[in-house]
C-alpha cells in the first residue's frame, strides 16, 4: 500500500524524519495475526484517525507505537528512532509519546493535580512548583482547574478523560496517541473530550486517534486509515473516505455506522 501522506496537514520536509514510521510491522496474539505487514508514515503535525470494525487491530496498532504491545517483526520508528527494547531507553522514548486510554487510567490513589505533575517531576526532573504551575495551566485549558484537588473517582468520565489528556500533555510530548478516548463515556460527555482534542489538533500536534467518532474524523482529521482484519485497507483524506470509499469493506462499515 501507499506510504505517502495523503493528508493536507503534513508539514514534513525531506530533511526531517516522519514522526511515526512503521515498516512491515507484524503482530500475533498466539495464532491470531492482528497486524499484517503494516507500512505507515505519519509526518509531523498530521492528525490521523484510525477507523475500523472491532477486532481490526486498530487499538493494537496504536499501542504498538509506544511498545505497550511489542510487535513480532518489522520496525516502528518514532521521530527517526527505532523503538528500543524494554528498559531505560524505551522509558525515555515513551516520555515523548503521550497516550490517552479508553478507560482513562488516572492513578486512583492520587489527586488530579498529582496525576498531572507525577510524570514531569519523576521522569523529566522538573521542580515540584514548576510542574504544579504547568499542570494548573493545562487543567485550566481542559476546563477542570477547579477539580485539581479531587480524586479521579470523584470526577465524571468526561472530566477524567480531560484530566488524562492534561496528564499526557504535561510531558510536552512530540506525538499523542488516543486509544478510543470517548468509547467509555456517556454520550453527553463525548463532546467536551472531542473539543479538547480538536483544539489540540488545531495547534499542530501530531495525533493518532483510534475512534468511532465520525464527526471528529470529518472535522479534525487530515487523514483517515481504515483497518480491517489487521490490514490498512484504505488510506485517504476524510472527504474521500466518507464520500467515496474504494473497498467493499469500507463501504460495508460506513453503511452500518452512518445509517443508524
Amino acid at each position: 500500500m501507499s506510504t505517502e501522506a495523503s493528508g493536507s496537514g503534513g508539514a514534513s520536509t525531506a530533511t526531517t524524519p516522519p514522526m511515526i514510521k512503521a515498516t512491515a510491522a507484524d503482530k500475533y496474539f498466539g495464532d491470531l495475526h492482528v497486524l499484517k505487514d503494516i507500512n505507515l508514515e505519519v509526518p509531523r503535525g498530521q492528525v490521523v484517525v484510525v477507523l475500523g470494525p472491532s477486532g481490526s487491530g486498530k487499538s493494537t496498532l496504536c499501542r504498538a507505537i509506544n511498545r505497550l504491545e511489542p510487535i513480532n517483526s518489522g520496525t516502528i520508528e518514532v521521530d527517526g528512532e527505532p523503538l528500543p527494547a524494554e528498559g531505560k531507553a524505551l522509558a525515555a522514548l515513551r516520555a515523548d509519546v503521550g497516550m490517552v486510554f479508553q478507560q482513562f487510567n488516572l492513578f486512583s490513589h492520587k489527586s488530579i493535580i498529582e496525576n498531572v505533575t507525577l510524570g514531569p517531576v519523576k521522569v523529566r526532573r522538573v521542580s515540584q512548583s514548576e510542574a504544579r504551575t504547568t499542570a494548573m495551566e493545562l487543567l485550566e485549558r481542559v476546563g477542570i482547574a477547579d477539580q485539581a484537588e479531587k480524586y479521579p473517582a470523584q470526577l465524571s468520565g468526561g472530566q477524567q478523560q480531560r484530566a488524562a489528556i492534561a496528564r499526557a500533555l504535561a510531558m510536552k510530548p512530540k506525538v499523542m496517541l488516543f486509544d478510543e478516548p470517548t468509547s467509555a463515556l456517556d454520550p453527553e460527555m463525548v463532546q467536551e473530550v472531542l473539543d479538547t482534542m480538536t483544539s489540540l489538533a488545531d495547534e499542530g500536534m501530531t495525533m493518532v486517534v483510534v475512534t468511532h467518532e465520525m464527526g471528529f474524523a470529518r472535522r479534525a482529521a487530515h487523514r483517515v486509515l481504515f483497518m480491517a482484519d489487521g490490514e490498512v485497507v484504505e488510506d485517504s483524506t476524510p472527504q474521500d473516505f466518507f464520500s467515496n470509499p474504494k473497498t467493499d469493506r469500507a463501504k460495508d462499515f460506513l453503511g452500518k455506522i452512518l445509517t443508524h
Partner: protein, 222 residues
Amino acid sequence: MFDFLTEYDILGAFWVTVQLTVYSAIGSLIWGTILAGMRVSPVPVMRAFGTAYVNIVRNIPLTLVIIAMSLGLYQTLNVALGGNTITATNFRLAILGFVLYTSTFVCESLRSGINTVPVGQAEAARALGLGFGQVLRMIVLPQAFRSVIGPLTSVLIALTKNTTVASTIGVAEASLLMSEMTENESDVIGLVFMIFAMGFVILTLPVGLLLGRVAKKAAVKR
C-alpha cells in the same frame, strides 16, 4: 489468690513479646515487599528466586526455622548477629527467623493485592516514561498495600502469637514464663493459662480493630 503473681515479671515477659513482634513485623514488611517485587518482576532469575524462596520457607514449620537459626546459624556457623550475650544473640536470631518466615506470607498477601490493581494503572505509568521500579513503587504497591491491610492484619496477629516459638531457643518471652509458672504454680494452672491467654488477646484485639478502621479509610476508590 493472686499473691504468687508478684514473684514473676509478667509484664516484662510480655514486653519481650511486643519487642519480638514489632521488630519482626518491620523486617517482614520490608523483606516481604522486596520478595513481592521479585515475584512480579520482568527478570526471570528474580521471579524464580522469589517463587522458590516463598514456596520453600512458608512450608517449613516455624519451630524448625527458629531452631535452625540457633543450631545452624549460631552454633554451627557462629553467626551471632552482633549479640554480646547469649540472651541478646537468641533474641536477634529469633527475630531473623520470624522475618524469614513471616515475609513469605506478607509477600503472598501483597501479590494478591497487586493483582487487584487494574493493569491500566501500570500501563498509564509506563506510557508516561516511568521505569519498572518507579511504576511498582509509586503506582502499583501503594494501591496494593491499601487493598491488603485486612490480610496483613491477620499476618500480624499470627506473628504476635507465633513469637511464642522463640521460647524453643530460650528467648524469655511470655510463653517461656508461662511454662515456668505452670510448673511452679500447678495448683492455679487454670488461672495461669487465663492470664497469658488474656495477655495475647489484649495485645492483638486492639491492633485488629484499629487496622480494620485504617483499611476502610485507605481503600482506593475506583
